[in-house]
Amino acid sequence: MDRHRPALSARDRLGTGIAIAVPVVFVALFFAYPVAAILGRGLAPEGQVDLEPLRRVFTDPTLRGVVWFTVWQAALSTVLTLAIGLPGAYVLARLRFPGRSLVRAMVTIPFVLPTVLVASAFLALGVPRSLGAILLAHVFFNYAVVVRVVGELWRHLDPHEEDAARMLGASRWRVWWEVTFPALRPGILAAATITFLFCFTSFGVILFLGGPTRSTIETEIYRQTTRFLDLPLAAALSVVQLSAVVVLLWLVARFERAAVPRRLGAAREIEHRARSLGDRLLLFGNLAVMAALLALPLGVLVARSLSPPSGFGLASYRALSELRRGSTLYVAPLDAIGNSLRFAIAATAIAVVVGGLAAWAGVRGRSRWLDGLLALPLGVSAVTLGFGFLIALDEPPLDLRGSQWLVPLAQALVAMPFVVLLVAPVLRAVDPRVREAATMLGASPARVRRTVDLPIAARALLVAAAFAFAISLGEFGATSFVVRPDHPTLPIVIYRLLGQPGDAAFGAAMAASCILMVLVAAAVLAGDRARAGRHGEF
């Protein structure tokens, strides 16, 4: 008998089976089935598969232009994000300075903000709708991906190799190029692929900031579905996008696996104060970049929310509860905050349970296909999923159309990949010797799980829950397609206010944005405190 892996009891195998079944059934029911239904309606309208629309995507010059633009804007956005984010990753990983953990948390906030809010911030700053605005917004959103994914690796990189190279007379540049960069490469590739994935499927940014001549696969799916009702073409575009995303996810998984440093140094030994001139320049330069890129747009929102036409003050916040009162669709802002919190709590619970089980089952079975499965919703356009819900979940016992449950379900689909990303590496990193010791001392597998795995996982789950909560609060795309108009979330209220006439409505939109920002920031900060500098790939 293999000592290290005691034979699984029947109960144990049942447990693993359930851990695999829950996420699989969840994704099949609330993702694969609705998406397949709408794609089926498009690709096989008469019950027979018609590949003509798929051919059109690659032969029609306009559509080919859309595909090409999608690819190169994502590539350019990724390169820019890396160029701006890598120095930031170094500063936050290696330099010790007062307020660092706060800065690190603040940098993450843009990632979970709704696109509609960010777009209005950029427009309020006077950035014209253009390619530049798209790129800028993509850097804004994904800066955190680079800083956190690469930074996490950088923080734990063994510094002795660098020191040795330096001692042997290598120049700083050569140390970077031959020692540090190769060690960081898997992390950089993982961050680049994730960034590319988000920019590739970008929707709100393109729609709100791109102007009418710029269209990506995602916005084209939206246009073809909601405008022309050309379901065959929309389905063909979805298939193209989904195929690309599957390849990208596979790459992410590969790079991530390689991104686990072989010899981890303790973060405390490696980081140092910014003493040298170079380090100081880097520190202040990067803080300036973060201030200009991340803090300025959000600062403008705060300023605009406090300066309505009637003069400096809280009038916009009061207007939130007064505008269009008495009209049929009036929703009090406090209710919207309540809706947002309620939906986010439900979505977080779903995402943590389903994502946590998937992470656990994946780590136990040493396979990550479950991670990939849960990440797939990132690659499907919100309109496809929303319309899929409409036509697929319309019969009892699963008649969810118009049900409030669709909102947390959709938000959970978006948040789940991040739960896996945060929990799986922690579970994987549990020192097997601790488990072995426990087993040797006579603990049953169930007891090992309870006394070893669970306490370690609990903290990771807490971090994941905070992050999932923040994502759910800020989610706009999928929510906008399934939300009930009488129970809007804050991002939906912001979107509606931006579409109403008058300066008062604009000010109220800014005020709602600020409230949302505070809620999201609180969730992110709470998560970072729970993390306390350990583990996780994001």
Partner: protein, 360 residues
């Protein structure tokens, strides 16, 4: 490497299962129950995001009839029609309000409505009753027109353009912002106005001239009006915008601090008439209540409420209009119009041609 086959297999498997289950024909619906008066029922009104009525008006209807009204906005006019078509076998609601003459044919051809002629229809002018078979009921109408910023033109000492052709003159260079007809309802209406004026052969030339004269295209009305228009309040620099004949009235109603006279004018020679309809969705289980809801939309209370709630004209002739509305909405005597059938047959093709002419 082993992961991919597993991932692909599970994906394919779930898609196969899903595809198989969609092929199964939906069971026939249970018999439609036709109550006498719909009392105690809840009737769902599918509509667009710009829908608005005073709360007390709706409450009075519920009090009088015992019918609860659930309002379900599902996007803009084009989107609600498309969603209604997609969910035809199992409709999302009982009544749809907000399909206009630019999307009417698509809705009628898909057969999403059942016939109903409201008694109140007698007071609606014939020009608005665009479906002879009575599947949809006109509720309101409005005009999509070019608005101008009066102060800007006064300051520049420039005369305001009067006709569509004027807009191609060099003195109006870089002054106009329009919406993309593929993403915006007023944008589409303005495109139809130019087709009505210049004909099948001439309209693309006209747009080529507009393009060369520096027309700005944006995605939606909000963007055009609030961000680009000088009168929109956010520092735009275009004094001409495709908007509505009622925008000057809205500018007065929503002014903060209050103003008496609108700073915005309407180019009455540029207008296209939009008529909004309501229809009962085929397959409703609340037919009686749905009919009473359609009657209600034509009732004096609702008709008097729509001008200041949605900034449109009531369809019922002789409905009294509020002063803020009549004082500031220029009378459009002879707007451009087009038969819904012609729009339906060529809309998508025109949009494609427009895109090719103006954007690429």
């Amino acid at each position: 490497m082993r992961r991919i086959p597993a991932l692909a297999a599970s994906l394919v498997a779930s898609m196969v299962v899903a595809a198989a289950s969609t092929v199964v024909v939906a069971p026939a619906r249970a018999g439609v129950q036709v109550g006498k008066d719909g009392k105690g029922e809840t009737v769902t009104l599918v509509t667009h995001d710009s829908f608005a009525l005073s709360e007390d008006v709706v409450a009075a209807f519920t009090k009088r009839t015992g019918i609860e009204v659930e309002i379900l906005p599902l996007g803009d006019a084009g989107q609600i029609v498309n969603q209604a078509i997609l969910t035809k076998d199992n409709p999302l609601g009982d009544v749809l309000f907000g399909v206009d003459n630019t999307f009417l044919t698509r809705a009628l051809e898909a057969g999403i409505f059942e016939r109903y002629r409201s008694p109140a229809l007698a007071d609606v002018p014939a020009a608005l009753r665009l479906d002879r078979r009575g599947r949809v009921t006109p509720i309101d109408y409005g005009d999509v027109c070019i608005n101008y910023d009066e102060e800007w033109f006064a300051d520049e000492g420039l005369t305001v353009p009067e006709t569509l052709r004027d807009l191609t003159k060099p003195k109006y260079r870089d002054l106009l912002v329009v919406e993309d007809p593929s993403t915006s309802s007023p944008g589409l209406a303005f495109l139809l106005a130019t087709v009505a004026e210049f004909g099948e052969r001439g309209w693309t030339d006209y747009w080529a001239k507009l393009r060369d004269n520096g027309v700005t295209v944006v995605d939606g009305w909000e963007q055009a009006y609030y961000d680009e228009f000088t009168g929109g309040g956010a520092g735009g620099d275009k004094p001409l915008v495709v908007s509505y004949a009622s925008s000057p009235a809205a500018a007065v109603v929503f002014a903060d601090p209050p103003i008496d006279e609108s700073p915005i004018g309407t180019m009455t020679g540029s207008c296209f008439r939009q008529v909004e309809f309501a229809g009962i969705l085929a397959g409703t289980e609340h037919r009686a209540a749905a009919r009473r809801l359609v009657d209600f939309l034509l009732s004096p209370e609702v008709q008097a409420d729509v001008p200041l709630q949605m900034f449109v004209y009531p369809a019922v002739a002789g409905t009294p209009l509020p002063d803020e509305f009549t004082d500031n909405v220029g009378t459009v005597d002879d707007p451009y119009t087009m038969a819904p059938g012609r729009i339906g047959a060529q809309r998508d093709e025109w949009i494609r041609e427009w895109t090719g002419t103006v954007l690429r």
